[in-house]
Amino acid sequence: MSASYTRRTLLTVVCEASIEARVVVDAKRLGAHGYTASEARGWGQHGERDGHWPMSGNVRIDILCDAVVADAIALHLQATYFASYAMVCYLSEVSVLRSEKF
């Protein structure tokens, strides 16, 4: 039996932990069926985000969805959060099993 893959878009958002809940609510509202979040550390334009204490914590949110939903979420994040918050957002094409979940 061979696996049946379908193309989907993986939207990855790395942002300040303080806005995780808001980003997740926005993503669900715009059509995401689920997400996976994990703690993240790093360094960039906003300095070191080392996660030592809550205000310097980052999260990485992965959302598997179709391209239209990913695009809508990315546009919304850009308009709402990019100016004031540490946030990186990128899309990649991936192959998934059980595509009906996403």
């Binding site: 303080s18 703690e39 300095g47 070191e48 030592h52 204490w53 205000m55 100016a83 004031s84 918050y85």
Partner: protein, 324 residues
């Protein structure tokens, strides 16, 4: 010990837990690989908030709640003036943007639970009693300044995000655990909590010391932010707590608090929030630069209060005893 050294030690007794903060600060500045795991930071903050709430609740159970209404109104009313005084100074003299000035003012109007805990430890080290209901003031002083800060930032702009701030503050762990501990302590009383004493009261100072070690590391990591703050904000981060501390000491004396209670109220007014305020301001006033407010509150005011402020406010309170 030479007489002059003895004099200084007597005038400004030292609280040993501060040394843990200094150790963390030095380790951070020396780029040591020392790290306190984030999970431990979270666990310790939950413990400290609950323990402070419980202790206050036990003391509150011995008190008539009606007697607290007028002092609480006075303490909150005068405390609410602090961000209103700080804001125009920061905006006009400090040349900060409206959002930055409002955010910094909110940080300095709100209070720091850990500074309060160190102040209380300092007093207990001296054997100096204080009114147990000071924890109620701690809770009450936490949020008005945050709302005033948001109002100052958004004045005339319509969308104030006030609902989000209220949720952030009242559903935030600081208020949930402090008020929750206060209620549990009040309902259970000293006798009811006796089985928990060993965890919440006997271990308190040791765990506070580890928390301060972590705060030293965090403060060291914020030193870089101070370069962006500018000379005015650096001066403000010391002048504001001194001014607020004097105001607190005068208020405590006027209310007839004990020397310990007056010193703690001065410490509360002088302290700047670096947990609740940054979280609330990040949500409600995202255009404000958090590096300025956190750098000033945590990089300067917090260490200043720990090392110089608290002994000074205690000294001031003892000088005012019986004068007003």
């Amino acid at each position: 010990m030479r007489p002059i050294e003895l004099c200084l030690v007597r005038a400004m007794p030292f609280e040993p837990v501060i040394l843990f903060f200094l150790l963390g600060l030095l380790a951070g500045l020396a780029r040591s690989d020392l790290k306190i795991p984030a999970v431990l930071y979270e666990s310790l903050s939950i413990f400290l908030l609950l323990a402070i709430g419980l202790k206050g609740g036990v003391e509150l159970a011995r008190q008539s709640l009606g007697d607290l209404i007028v002092p609480a109104l006075v303490v909150v009313g005068i405390g609410a003036c602090l961000p209103l005084i700080a804001f125009p100074l920061l905006q006009r003299l400090g040349k900060l943007s409206r959002a930055d000035a409002a955010s910094v003012a909110a940080h300095y109007g709100s209070v720091s639970v850990v500074t309060f805990a160190v102040g209380a430890a300092y007093l207990s080290n001296l054997g100096q009693a204080y009114e147990g209901y000071m924890v109620v003031f701690l809770v009450l002083l936490e949020f008005p300044a945050l709302m005033i800060g948001v109002w100052l930032a958004k004045c005339g702009q319509g969308n104030s995000n006030m609902g989000k701030v209220l949720h952030e503050v009242f559903a935030g762990k600081s208020i949930v655990l402090l008020v929750g501990g206060l209620l549990i302590g009040w309902m259970a009383g000293a006798e009811g909590l006796k089985p928990l004493d060993k965890v919440f009261f006997d271990l308190f100072k040791g765990l506070l010391a580890i928390f301060l070690l972590e705060m030293g590391l965090v403060a060291a990591s914020r030193i870089g932010d101070l370069k962006r703050a500018g000379a005015f904000l650096l001066g403000f981060a010391i002048a504001m707590p001194v001014f607020a501390g004097v105001l607190g000491a005068l208020t405590g004396s006027l209310l007839g608090l004990s020397v310990g209670g007056t010193a703690l109220l001065a410490t509360l007014y002088a302290s700047a929030s670096y947990i609740a305020a940054p979280a609330a301001m990040r949500i409600a006033v995202p255009e404000a630069n958090p590096a300025l407010s956190i750098g000033a509150a945590l990089g300067i005011t917090f260490p200043f209060n720990l090392v110089i402020g608290i002994p000074t406010y205690y000294w001031l309170a003892s000088q005012l005893e019986g004068v007003i």
